[in-house]
Symmetry: C2
């Protein structure tokens, strides 16, 4: 199947995803938004764009090499046009509720894109790295106010299957009736051991335990994106 054909079908699937705001008694409209970077009529420009996105995401070569990158963008610009048409002013983008509703919906769109792509036999690489420099993505995609690039997915045919990394036990993820903090420490200790064994098994010498990985990435302030979000309109006042 040609990229233009599978892109059409995959984005159509994401467009009709179920969301908390798409029910019979829906209160709010959907707000995730897809910007598709697909094989272009002007080939050169597109390859340049993907190379640029690879750079923004911290040098992830598969973004440039694969035929398609789809960015998922939160879009409260479109909803704002509706509000204005009805004679009012939108304030939703100024609330944490607006951010949570829109970003959760963006996640649902991401998952739907990935599931549809897999159903067509394609490989996927989810990319959160575009948040390393959201302003560069805003400039590249010419995004209007009240939008924000959240993440994206690389699509293409799989050259070589990678092995399935083990996961932490389900007890650390599924809690019945209430949160059970006592299940976590044993699950973490077991997973740290499991991961070390897995790295040895696949011959990687630079693999961290889960805990060490968490410490490396969650203990420092990186990706300072609040100011860009505020400039776009997401001021999170209440």
């Amino acid at each position: 199947m040609r990229p233009s054909a599978y892109c059409r079908r995959i984005t159509a699937a994401a467009a009709i995803r179920p969301t908390q705001y798409r029910r019979k008694y829906s209160k709010l409209s959907s707000s995730a938004h897809i910007v598709l970077r697909h094989p272009p009529t002007v080939k050169r420009r597109n390859a340049d764009s993907r190379a640029r996105i690879a750079e923004i995401a911290g040098g992830q070569p598969w973004i440039a090499k694969a035929p398609v990158f789809i960015a998922v963008v939160v879009d409260l610009y479109k909803t704002g046009l509706g509000v204005e048409k009805a004679g009012a002013e939108q304030v939703f983008q100024r609330t944490l509720e607006g951010v949570l509703a829109a970003v959760s919906d963006a996640g649902i769109a991401m998952a739907t894109l990935m599931a549809a792509a897999r159903a067509f036999g394609l490989g996927i690489v989810p990319i959160g790295g575009i948040r390393r420099d959201p302003q560069a993505m805003i400039d590249l995609l010419e995004l209007p106010p009240n939008t924000f690039p959240v993440d994206g997915v690389v699509l293409g045919y799989v050259a070589e299957e990678s092995s399935q990394k083990p996961r932490m036990t389900i007890e650390s993820f599924r809690h019945d009736e209430k949160y059970h903090p006592e299940t976590l420490q044993p699950a973490i200790d077991a997973y740290d051991r499991t991961l070390q064994e897995y790295w040895q098994e696949i011959g990687r010498t630079d693999g961290f335990s889960w805990s060490a990985n968490m410490a490396q990435h969650y203990s420092t302030f990186s990706r300072l994106i609040k100011s860009v979000a505020q400039k776009q309109g997401f001021t999170i006042e209440v």
Copy 2:
């Protein structure tokens, strides 16, 4: 299939969902978290809990009536334990990046739960209404610091299929190469007309146009959840 059986399979599917942080060269770990409210050993307590959640969500009777409600909770408490184990202190929950990464992942988990449930022949109702009173959900589920209830899904067998609400045209959702603001106004105008026709067709007299609906819900400050999020640890400092 009994609820305990399908719950086990559906949450297992969500636990192995693809996320931007679950790749070979992953930098961060996953952070969405499932709290499952399933048919209990103590039946009375569970029915009470679902009735309470229905109330929190603004009186949505299907939450109390259906056998299962699964809440999706952002969980940076678990990751914090890993960071501490490695001798560091987690600051991720204090950043907008942390909120976006975790809530996007919660959306991916939501979509995976819904897709798995549908694959088992179940009906679903996504529920964002638990954010009407997140503190009540935190109390009910006994959620620790650095967690936040984002949304959830009602599961059960379908009594009566509802009709598929029309959607806005794909041009307003999929943008090729760059954002195309010029496509929006015609799409909005057409959709406002389509929705009015749809309400007439299904005999609803209280249906709004899309624009009127946006104006009603996006132009006022409702769901003031920032203070609860801050109290939980999500201070969004950078």
